[in-house]
């Protein structure tokens, strides 16, 4: 579909949220929560903070909740009965004001959840999600979208991408059929775009420090350079913060709860950075040291995912680095990887 350009007046955003709510859809948007900004459901645009640089957590919860029921079971008489969760009850949802990195991340998540075997849970949620992205007017020292093939105004993954123009009004690029369907909820708000609407000058300047292909190749070439990985990861604590805030990390655990006669099977986030992630029953741990786990994180995103799923596993949002309690800065360490001699 060819991208259509429209103008959404700054006052019209409130009306758009109302119309979406009125159509029975839920709206999630960045909301200021004290020192942090997080995606949360909103009833009116006044609750949203569209001037944010980055939320602490990504919005992946909407597609891949941190805890999700994948089965329930109940013993009836002698027989065990299992039942699927009712995914038809999922609400139609619009996420409004998500930056281009996060919108692109949906593709990476999807590549995992639809790799040969189709994950019905992810797909059902995705089907009901419409992404109204928001170009970035500002970045910070952690952002590196431009180094991973994206940019502050990329349309990838957005159904509609908004860019706040100098006038304060929004340029709306309608990218997909889903975006078009959303416009249909309030067609009167989407005015013809002025011919001279200048998107580029409204975008943040994000430096391109490397290319993701280079990063992947170098990481692979230096795989056996233990001094490099162990050196970078010495201060890493092996927590799940980086993976849990990351919009593309998809690793999960499966846990049963309840009794042997009645209960549920849940899946919940997990991380390759945890020391026990890979531990065998014998106690043998294939990734015994944090250096190997940190290497896995970078390799999975920059080498394995491109090789196997034909997508990159990092969109340069910088969340992992901001959230890391010990300042493991992924961008800096990727640059290290490229610069250090092997």
């Amino acid at each position: 579909m060819e991208i259509e350009r429209r103008l959404l007046k700054k006052e019209a955003l409130a009306g758009l949220v109302e119309k979406i709510n009125a159509a029975g859809r839920k709206v999630h948007a960045p909301v200021c929560e004290g020192a942090r900004v997080e995606f949360a459901p909103i009833d009116s645009i006044a609750e949203a903070d569209l001037g944010y640089v980055q939320t602490t957590q990504s919005a992946k919860n909407l597609l891949f909740p941190r805890v999700e029921r994948i089965l329930s079971f109940k013993r009836r008489g002698g027989a065990m009965e299992t039942a699927d969760p009712d995914l038809s009850a999922l609400p139609e949802t619009v996420v409004l004001g998500m930056h281009p990195c996060d919108a692109a991340a949906i593709g990476s998540l999807g590549a995992i959840f639809t790799w040969d075997t189709q994950d019905a849970f992810f797909k059902a949620r995705l089907e009901k999600l419409t992404v109204v992205g928001l170009s970035c007017a500002a970045g910070d020292e952690y952002c590196f979208c431009a180094s991973v093939g994206l940019g502050p105004g990329s349309t990838e993954g957005s159904d509609i991408l908004l860019t706040r123009l100098a006038s304060g009004d929004f340029l709306a690029e309608i990218v997909t059929a889903k975006g078009k369907a959303l416009v249909e909820l309030a067609p009167e708000l989407f005015l013809p775009a002025p011919a001279g609407a200048d998107k580029d000058s409204a975008l943040a300047r994000i430096e391109k420090s490397f290319t993701r292909e280079e990063a992947g190749e170098r990481a692979k070439a230096r795989f056996d350079d233990d001094a490099l990985w162990d050196g970078q990861a010495l201060r890493c604590l092996g927590c799940g913060a980086c993976a849990y805030v990351c919009p593309t990390c998809a690793c999960f655990d499966i846990q049963d709860e309840g009794t042997t006669s009645r209960g549920v099977r849940l899946r919940c986030w997990d991380s390759c950075g945890f020391p026990a992630f890979t531990i065998h029953t014998s106690g043998h741990n294939p990734r015994e040291e944090q250096g190997a786990r940190w290497r896995q994180r970078l390799m999975h995103k920059f080498s394995y995912m491109p090789e196997r799923q034909d997508v990159f596993g990092c969109v340069g949002c910088g969340r992992c680095s901001r959230a890391c309690p010990v300042d493991m800065n992924i961008k800096e360490h990727l640059i290290d990887l490229l610069e250090a001699k092997s």
């Binding site: 602490t56 957590q57 952690y142 201060r235 846990q255 919940c268 800065n329």
Partner: protein, 267 residues
């Protein structure tokens, strides 16, 4: 800072330690832990108000232990941690060098745990006014309000375990949440799982927490975990007259049985 760098270089050159665990510059104006192994890199060490991480966390980490004998740049809470870890038999006297830089550029090198004890006995541990204000606010709540407050806070927990991983006293090779026979604490990050996790962790730290605040600072979603810890610190102090990190020998109230222990709470 010069004193610190000089000392670090000398220790490494003399082969007295293999690594100096200290602070270096990080992203923007952040400071971060660095591990100086070559004398010529001692100049990367910094010490100022940004240097808050409790570096004693690294004393029990296998990857750091493998480097050999360490010197550690210790803030006040890190000094307490050293004593508490010693009391719990995780580190031994002579196994490390403890360097405490002062704000004025001075440097104290502690030769013995007894010296640290003496130093701490005379040192004030100021509490952050904003944190104290939050503490007072929560204390003033009715039990019902306070319960709601905590349910709200804890519902935001994502079970990333950054608090545990950052905590120098959470050194167990296998945490209770990872014990699954029985599964004491639910693994998923739902309401019950979060509540049990955070209460369990607070209880395991009661009387052991040195109040460094690193769990709260590590928490990516900003749950004020220090509030839980401080209440328990207060309770342990008033009931058992113990405070973690003041002595290198620990007679830990919650795990030591004395024949004359009160039993009137058992009903």
């Amino acid at each position: 800072m010069d004193e610190l760098r000089k000392k670090a270089r000398a220790l490494l050159e003399a082969g007295e330690v293999r690594v100096v665990i200290g602070y270096g510059g990080g992203t923007g104006d952040r400071a971060r832990a660095i591990f100086v192994r070559e004398p010529e890199r001692a100049d990367e060490l910094i010490f100022d108000g940004r240097c808050r991480q409790n570096l004693a966390i690294y004393l029990t980490r296998r990857e750091v232990k493998e480097l050999g004998k360490p010197a550690i740049v210790a803030t006040l809470p890190a000094l307490k941690t050293v004593l508490q870890l010693a009391g719990e038999f995780q580190i031994a006297e002579g196994g490390l060098v403890v360097l405490a830089p002062g704000a004025d550029g001075s440097l104290i090198e502690f030769k013995t745990f007894a010296d640290i004890e003496k130093y701490l006995a005379g040192a004030a541990s100021p509490i952050d006014p904003a944190e104290q204000a939050e503490m007072d606010r929560v204390r003033a709540m009715s039990p019902d309000e306070r319960w709601k407050y905590w349910l709200g806070q804890i519902s935001r927990c994502i079970k990333c375990y950054a608090c545990r991983q950052a905590c120098p006293m959470c050194y167990c090779p296998r945490c209770t949440v990872e014990c699954n026979q029985p599964q004491w604490i639910p693994v998923p990050s739902h309401e019950l799982g979060n509540l049990e996790w955070n209460v369990m962790r607070a209880m395991h730290l009661a009387g052991r927490c040195v109040d460094c605040g690193d769990c709260s600072r590590a928490c990516p979603v900003g749950i004020p975990l220090y509030l839980l810890n401080r209440v328990l610190i207060g309770d342990i102090e008033s009931n058992f007259h113990q405070r973690a990190g003041m002595k290198a020998e620990v007679d830990y109230a919650l795990s030591t049985f004395h024949p004359d222990d009160r039993e009137n709470f058992i009903r």
